[in-house]
């Protein structure tokens, strides 16, 4: 058990270094969403409530997390195709230790994203400050696991170029189907149902409602949380299965 924890810590440290030393990952996971948060608030917050900080900041947190899927997937895919993982498979490291090593490496990044974008939101718009931000950060950790799981799944199944394509679809899905950039009231019933069945809008709603408070805790917090958790569990089970299959192959 102690050896296993040590191996997980070693893998986590390595994976974290690999990701944060890639300038592109920092640009897409931190700099670009931060720029968008500041820019969109400055331009649009007086025009539409969509871009008020209480909606924008939680949306930006989940949007930035979608890039975790891209960079987690690319790291695993590159590790596979360069035989790096093959070498590690020869060691006594177990498949669950690899999975934890990848997942834990991305959680600190998700924490930085949530804290930073809420903090900047509070600095730009002082009315946004609230202790419920802590709740937003907590739920942000849950939603980040969904995207990390997607990344591990993509990395196990695709090449690094393939991961780029599929992860772009996930990022686009988070942008277009979360309702963070445009009001969803005018959309048709079918489209709204589609958005509510997928995890993207639920993840965004979960953080927005956690930070801003809500009237119906079940409908506004518990329900989206359960949907996100359900997706997260399914994605992780499939990811672990796919990773183990690759390991055996």
């Amino acid at each position: 058990m102690r050896d296993s924890i040590k191996r997980i810590v070693t893998l986590t440290k390595r994976n974290l270094k690999e990701i944060v030393r890639d300038p592109l990952s920092l640009i897409f996971m931190i700099a670009m969403p931060l720029f968008m948060e500041i820019l969109f608030y400055a331009i649009f917050h007086t025009m539409t409530s969509q871009f008020e900080m209480k909606y924008l900041a939680p949306g930006i947190v989940v949007f930035s997390q979608a890039f975790l899927a891209l960079f987690a997937g690319q790291l695993i895919a590159i590790d596979r195709t360069t035989s790096f993982l093959t070498r590690l498979f020869v060691s006594r490291t177990r498949s669950h230790e690899f999975i934890f090593g990848y997942a834990f490496a991305l959680l600190p990044i998700a924490l930085v994203q949530a804290v930073l974008f809420f903090l900047v939101g509070g600095i730009i718009d002082s009315s946004f400050w609230s202790v419920t931000m802590l709740l937003g950060i907590l739920f942000g950790m849950v939603t980040s696991l969904l995207f990390i799981g997607i990344g591990i799944l993509l990395g196990s199944l695709c090449t690094d170029k393939g991961v780029g394509g599929v992860a772009s679809a996930v990022i686009a899905g988070q942008s277009l189907l979360s309702g963070m950039w445009f009001p969803t009231e005018g959309l048709g019933k079918g489209m709204l149902t589609f958005m509510r069945v997928l995890p993207f809008k639920n993840a965004t709603m979960l953080l927005q409602n956690a930070v801003n408070g809500c009237d119906d805790v079940f409908a506004d917090i518990v329900s989206p949380l359960l949907i996100v958790l359900a997706y997260m569990i399914v994605v992780f089970i499939v990811a672990v299965f796919a990773f183990r299959k690759k390991m055996r192959a």
Binding site: R7, T10, K17, T82, S83
Partner: protein
């Protein structure tokens, strides 16, 4: 004493028989070169011996530990450097060694000792602060082989270690491999006949998953009537010497 012993080892992938009933013994401390054209089954054989893939039938033993029943014991005795360079790209040379040593359960003192030993054996000290991705192909391959020694293996598998390297880098790597001879048992696969000629104590030749020949260079020359490994290899696998 046979450090590696395979007994009628066979591996099938759907309709393809990649390794077909290979029985082989490799002695302690020897450098055994495995030759074969593409698809001969060399890499599959290495993958079975390193517990990366299970045989369809048969068994193999590394220091009497079965690759089927005692995988952890086998893994504690071996290490491998695969065809492709297998290093952590954004970690420095020093961090790569620390990472592998830590993963192998080394203490801080042991890690310091391993680093010192590898810097000296592979001249890696001069590039220890460089990220692996910034190293030349030759240095990356050197680092990749050095990392395989971190666990202090009794058996080292080198799968085409000089593939794609220029002639200078290849010769430098030969010297490194030659320095390792006798300190551990080495199984090397290669496409370069002169590599086997220069380094190997014994040679095995595979074709279509079968082991056609095992013996010394001299025995190979005697069996084929040739005086160099390349011609002997071509004669053995049924190629056209005049092509």
């Amino acid at each position: 004493m046979a450090v590696i012993k395979t007994c009628d080892l066979r591996k099938e992938y759907q309709d393809v028989v990649a390794v077909n009933g290979v029985s082989l013994e490799v002695e302690e401390g020897e450098l055994f070169a495995l030759l074969g054209v593409n698809g001969a089954g060399k890499t599959t054989l290495i993958k079975m011996l390193t517990c990366l893939t299970a045989p369809t039938s048969g068994d193999a033993f590394v220091m009497d530990h079965s690759i089927l029943r005692d995988r952890d014991a086998v893994k504690s005795l071996i290490d491998v450097s695969m065809q492709e360079t297998a290093v952590a790209r954004n970690l420095t040379v020093e961090e790569n060694i620390e990472f592998y040593a830590s993963l192998n359960g080394h203490s801080a003192e042991e890690i310091a000792a391993v680093k010192a030993a590898l810097y000296s054996a592979f001249d890696l000290g001069q590039v220890k602060g460089k990220r692996a991705s910034k190293l030349s192909g030759g240095w990356q391959r050197k680092l990749s082989i050095a990392l395989a020694l971190v666990s202090d293996p009794k058996v080292l598998f080198l799968d085409e270690p000089t593939l794609g390297l220029d002639v200078i880098a290849r010769r430098e790597l030969w010297k490194t491999i030659r320095d390792l001879k006798g300190k551990m048992t080495i199984v090397l696969t290669t496409h370069y006949m002169e590599e086997a000629e220069a380094l190997a104590d014994r040679i095995g030749i595979m074709k279509g998953g079968k082991l056609l020949f095992v013996g010394t260079k001299e025995e190979l020359y005697a069996e084929t009537g040739k005086d160099n490994v390349e011609d002997a290899f071509i004669r053995m696998v049924g190629g056209d010497l005049d092509a």
